[in-house]
Structure formats: structure tokens, C-alpha cells
Amino acid sequence: MQQTFEFYDALYTTMLEQYLQSGMKQKTVIQVGSATCELAAGAASVRDEFAKLIAASGRDDIILKQTGCTGRCAREPIVGVFRPDQIPIKYEQVTIDKVQKIFQEHVIAGRPVTSLVLDKKTDILYSYVATVCSSSRCRSEEMEASEDLLRRRLQALQVPAGTVRIFPGGCLGLCEDEKKGSHRTMMVLPDKVIYAFADESQLDEIIDAHFIHGRVLKKYLTHTNFITEQFFSLYGDVAFFNKQTRLTLRNSGLIDPESLGDYVRNKGYEALAKILQRNEPAYVLEQLARSGLRGRGGGGYPTGLKWQFAADNPDPVKYVICNADEGDPGAFMDRSALEGDPFIILEGMTLGAFAVGAQQGYIYVRAEYPLAIERLEKAIAVAREHQLLGANIMNSDFSFDIEIRLGAGAFVCGEETALMYSVEGKRGQPRIRPPFPTESGLWGHPTVINNVETWANVPTILLYGADWFANIGTVKSKGTKVFALAGKVINTGLVEVPMGTALRDIIYDIGGGLPPGRTLKAVQTGGPSGGCIPASAIDTQVDYDSLAAVGSIMGSGGMIILDDNDCMVATAKFFLEFTQSESCGKCVPCREGTLRMLEILERITTGHGTEEDLTKLERLGDLVKKTSLCGLGQTAPNPVLSALKNFREEFEIHVREKRCPAHKCSQLIRYEVRTDKCVGCTLCARRCPVGCISGSPKKPHTIHQAECIKCGECWSACKFDAISRD
């Protein structure tokens, strides 16, 4: 009989007592992000400055706390000020000179600095924030949207403007089954309560009690376990977050990643306690299979099935591996997750190890992520100290430990067989599969390899149940997916959305759309293994099958927005350059073929391409795809082939007219003086670094094409629009 519940209770109580003793609950918390990206944006000096001010103030009811990254990258560093009596306030792009003001006005005097608030939309500070569920999953078409209903009733009941800020939330996953479809939910801040109401009159009662009289109306409170409650209670009033469904990232930006207490108080290790108490690996396997979870690393292989293979293998020695070799250029989901919530990975891996019967786990992390490594190291040490890793975990019979192994700059090590060789200390060159790792992996023993995001889903699934999880997402793609949104979009950052969310929603609702004046051209997903989805397919849902149908892949979650200034040939070349330089060199098609493809693209982008080159590109692309040894090679041609398919015209203009419509391929740009507009101011001639512009003052100038290096200095210098660029 396992005694893990007792162990967990004791752990939880200790952590809670520590927290209560710290008096954190009654104190004002200043929270500063501390992920790599935050630090790059200057978070460290901001934190130091707050520390100085707190010390100088002599106040012991102000606490400075570090967290991981919320994913709101473009506005970093982000600072949260959480006073016990106020709705949480988040400040954006806090530089050291703003610290003093925030500290004096808000922390000390209680008056938020509205001009610095995140998204700058909050010029009025509301008394309450009401987040209502606006997910289409729980309501039918004809039903009035919750936000409209609430707005209408607030007006009807004459609640003064500025009292309640209404936020249409994404799926919060908080509906109790029996109320689904019949009830609506609403979370109210700063009280952090959730109401479920069936009709208008019940809503009116809530409005009257809560917003007019300031009393929590207990009879309509719902007691559903709301997994993202903590996250939403802090960030739910920001559109960027609000539209997301944060399952794997729910703790990122919320908890102190180095604090086991924070993790445990946010349901951390409850799943493990539950599973170890039950002591039935088959149950875990069954839950995983039923949840429909598929690998988040790109392949989308059913996780439950993978685990089952490993579990069925009679070999007594087995391993689990967390693939944190996030190598896609343009992807930073894993880094953020590891830096923001390392314990969830440890718990996920421990659960997986229990299910398949592994004794040892490895986390394979890129050496380029020093902070993630440091956080993981600390988390592993703390977990060992608290008997959450090592012998007899939580006093059970189950023993398991985790070690970190560092990558060293080889993208191909994301491929599982290459990764295993690297863990074994060898050159990370893939080998032929089968045998698959679950049959013969590390040192020949069955090995389960999953990526960071997949592992992060495991505790949640086992805590809330496979059916709950399977409710989120689409028929074939369950749960959520984290994307690293970057490129030509206003809100760049980390985004976690239910599978099946339309690209449009991600780009416009969460990403805030493109910068003014720009038009969407394509969305690149799946990084160097993926493809470019043309703007015309913007209503595509993000799930494994829909993305594949439009010629791209889910990949690990990179999502780059391209606009009319991006050349698709150059973009294809960029990705191929990447895979070509990351090819391990083992098999012929990838080693030789990708270089030949790249040479063709180089010819095309420099004006030496021919029509025949396009055919060759396709022929080689098909060859590399069909004959390469591993996933890297098999997908390397994708960016080129998908660009050729969706943007063939652009390639043709490059080869036929020797022109780059996006003006990106510098050798294909031609600068000329518009003689009708040129006033002969001589500015361009003075700016030209190679002196290839001649002309007398007050007379139209001439660019000598043979010497022109296409730097564009003249074009940007001209004040009379007299230089044409074509």
C-alpha cells in the first residue's frame, strides 16, 4: 500500500504554512519577470532598483518576486504590482527610470500609474474586471455573446461606467459538465471568484450584489477546479492573454520558478501523489491514450501509444527523455516553459517514468539556454531534497531520477535517434528507424522521448482526467498548443491556444494584427521543416491535419508572420540555408542535395536563375524528401517546395524578369533617378558609398548601374522621391 497521499498532504501543508508565515498574502507583491528574454530587455536592473527602493523604504510588507516569462515578449520587461486590495496591475516596458514613479505612486501610495500600464488601454482604472467565457465550444450560435449580455445588463442596472471592465475570455475550461451549455461563467477580480449563472435574472442578482454592493454572492459561485484560475486572476484582463487557454504555460509568469512552494500551492505534484497512491501504471497509460495527447515536438505521434510500446517491452532497464533541444530558429516555447515552470516538466517525466517503468530520465537541453539549465538544475536538486526524485518517491516503492544533458549546437539533435547518440556522448547523427527508441533506445534499452510541451501536459491530464483534456481542441488534435509568435505582428510573444483556433484569431485577436500599412503575405509555421501558408488560407485552423493539408506542419510551434515586404524566395532560401548548415552529413540526399538546392536558390536570388532551375529545385526537393535518412532531411525541402507551390509566380518573376517584387533580393533591385523629380540637391551623390552617382548641382543626377552596390542609401536619403527602386 502506497502512502503517497499522506506524503503529499504533509508537503502541501508545509508549503502553505511557509507561505502564510511569510505573510505574502497580506503584502504587496512586486513581480518582475526573469526569463532570458526579460533579462535581455533589462529586467535585472529593474529588479535591483526595486530592491533598493524597498530596502530604503524600510517596509516589510512589500515583497519582490521573480517569475518566468509570461510570453508578452514585445512589451518586456513586465512588472506586476499586486496589492491585496486592488486588481492586479501590470506595467510594460519598465525601464529603470520608471521604477521610482511606479514605486512611489503605486506601491506606496496605491495610485496606479495609468500611463505605463500594459497595453496602455487602461486610462480608467476599473473597480472590477469581469472575464466572461466567450468560447464557441460551450454555446450555440444563436445565443447572445456573454460580453454583450453583461454589457446590456450593466447598463440596464445603471452601474456607473468605469466600474466594471468586461473581458471576453477564451475557453477557460471551467464549465462543470452538467452546467455546460446551460450556464455561463464569469470570473470577477480582484475578488477572484467565479460565478455560474443560468439566465439574465441570476446575472442581475450577481450584478446587484457584487458590482453595486460589493458583496460576493455565494449562491452562484461555482466550485469547479479551474486550472488556469491563478493565471487568469493576474493576467485575464489583458487581451493578449485573455484569448489564450493557458494549460501548459499556466504557471509561467505566475510562480517563482525556483520555488517548490509556489508550484505545490498551484496544484503541483498533486497528480503525482494521486497516481502513485493508485499505483497502477496501466491507468496512466489508459488515461494518456484516452486524452488523445499527441507529441508536441512536430511529429504528432500519439503519446499514449508511444508509452504503451515502451511499457510492453520486457526489458527491465528503461529510460525517459525530455527533448528540450529547441533548435528551430524562431522558436522559444521550450525555453520559456523551462525557465518559467521547471517543476511541471519534472513531474511530467516522473509520471511518464512510472507509467512505462523507467528508472532514469534525461533532460536534453541546448547549451544556449543557460538560465533554463540553471533553473532545471535547481529544481532537480530541490525535488531530490523533498523526495520527489530519487529513491522511493513520495514514500512509494517507485524510484526515479533525472539528469541534465547538454546539447552543443546541433539542430539535428532534435531528431530522436540523434538526440540519443548525443546523450550517449557521441556525434549526434541519426540512425535508421526501426528500431524505434521505445524498442531500442539509449544504450539499447527502451526509451520514451517526448518534448517539453508534451511532458508539461502530462500532470494536467492526470489531474483533471483524460476526458476533460479531450474536451479541448478538435476531434483529432486534443488540448492546446503553444506558439512562438514572431515576425511582422504587433504582439510578438508566446501564445497558447486550443487546437483548432484559426490562424486569423492568433494573428489578429492575440497578435494584434500587422503593423499599420502592412499586408499579410504568409504565415510560416513549423520552422525549417514547415512551410509558408499563404494569406488566402488564413482561416486555416491550427491542428496537425489542417496545417498538413495546406502544405505546412504544426512543428514545434514557431509561427512567423510575413508581410508584403518579405520575399518568399529569400525566405525559402533562409530556411534552406539553415537546414543545409545543420545537416549532419550522414546521408547523401541531405548532405549533397540541400547544398545543390541552396546553390540554385542563390542563383535565383542573384539574377542568374533559369526556368530550368525551378524544375531542378522541385526534382531535388522531391528526392531529398523521399530519400533522406531522418526527419531533418525529409522535411528540409518543405519551405522551398511549399513556397514554390504557393508563390510560384514570385519565383518566376525572379528568373524571368530578374526582379524581386518585395525588394528583398538586393542584387535584383535597380535604383534609378527619376529625372522629372530630381532637383539636383546632390544629397544622394554625397551619400553614395561607392560614388556611383554623378550630376551637376541643380541638374538631374545619374546612377551608374555597373558600380551600384544596391545599398539603398540614395533611396532612403532622397527627400524628393526622385529615386525609384525596382
Binding site: C37, A331, F332, W443, A486, F574
Partner: protein
């Protein structure tokens, strides 16, 4: 077993000894090489030879591993390693131009070290701070939203600090 060179410091030797107490000691090769590079800035042949002898991994394997992974440097690095991120986000935001600016300004090519030993120029593949692109790191400091105009300033800053 005695080896000809005895140049690795005690901390690394201790680490190797620790690895040798664990199962699959040879699997710690990459970890040991990381430690050597951390300590000495790069992997010299002498050090790699000694690692091979002490960890009992064929020298050709050590050499094969060291040259496979781009994180490992086989030449000493400048005092200030400038690394331009060429990840997708950075590329889209013009990182290639930033790289060119460093090339011109320092008069060195990629992978080279300036004659005064002060700077070396490298590229990295995505530091995962894409939202702040383009990004440049000088040793451990990350500079975000770098512009071509900033390049000479960044270099001057370092030169100034060095006197």
C-alpha cells in the same frame, strides 16, 4: 594511466573522476568538453587529448564530437565574443545587415578574431528572444532591437571600457 600532458585543472579532473564512477562514463564526454571550454575558452588539442586519455574515449571520437557540435570552439576566442543571432525573427528584421556592419567595422570575417585579440565574430541560431529581434550578444550581455547604426557604438563602448 599516465599521460604526457597534465594541463587540465583540478576541477575538471575531479569531474572526470566523478563521471567515471557512474554507469556509461563515456557518455559524459560532451559534458566534460563543456567544462573544458568554460574554463579555457576553447578546446585545444592538448586538452582534448587529455580528456580522451582520462575518460578512456578514443581521441578520434573526442575530435569527432568536438567538431560536430558548433557550440564548441577549436580556436581561442577574442576577449569579447560578438554573436549575431540569425534566427528567423532576427533575419526577418535584418540581422544579416547587422552582421555585415560588424564585419566591416571590425574588419574580420565570421569565426575570426581581431588582431588585437579583443573581438571575435560569431553567429548564433536563435537565442529564443525573437520578440526582441534583432539580437546581438557580446559575451553574456544581450542587446535587443539592434540597429546598424548602433554597431559602431557597441564596439566603441567595449574599446572605451578596455581603455
Amino acid at each position: 594511466m599516465e599521460t604526457k600532458t597534465q594541463s587540465l585543472n583540478q576541477a575538471i579532473l575531479d569531474f572526470i573522476d566523478l563521471c567515471k564512477t557512474k554507469p556509461h562514463a563515456d557518455s559524459y564526454l560532451i559534458a566534460v568538453l563543456h567544462k573544458v571550454q568554460q574554463t579555457y575558452g576553447y578546446l585545444s588539442e592538448e586538452h582534448m587529448y587529455e580528456v580522451a586519455q582520462r575518460l578512456q574515449v578514443p581521441t578520434s571520437v573526442v575530435s569527432g564530437v568536438a567538431t560536430f557540435y558548433h557550440f564548441f570552439r577549436l580556436q581561442p576566442r577574442g576577449k569579447y565574443a560578438i554573436s549575431v543571432c540569425l534566427g528567423t525573427a532576427c533575419f526577418v528584421k535584418g540581422a544579416d545587415k547587422i552582421l555585415d556592419a560588424f564585419r566591416t567595422e571590425l574588419g574580420i570575417e565570421l569565426g575570426e578574431t581581431s588582431s588585437d585579440g579583443l573581438f571575435s565574430l560569431e553567429v548564433s541560431r536563435c537565442l529564443g528572444v525573437c520578440a526582441l529581434a534583432p539580437v546581438v550578444t557580446i559575451n553574456d550581455t544581450v542587446y535587443s532591437n539592434v540597429t546598424v547604426k548602433q554597431v559602431p557604438q557597441l564596439i566603441d563602448q567595449v574599446r572605451h571600457a578596455e581603455g
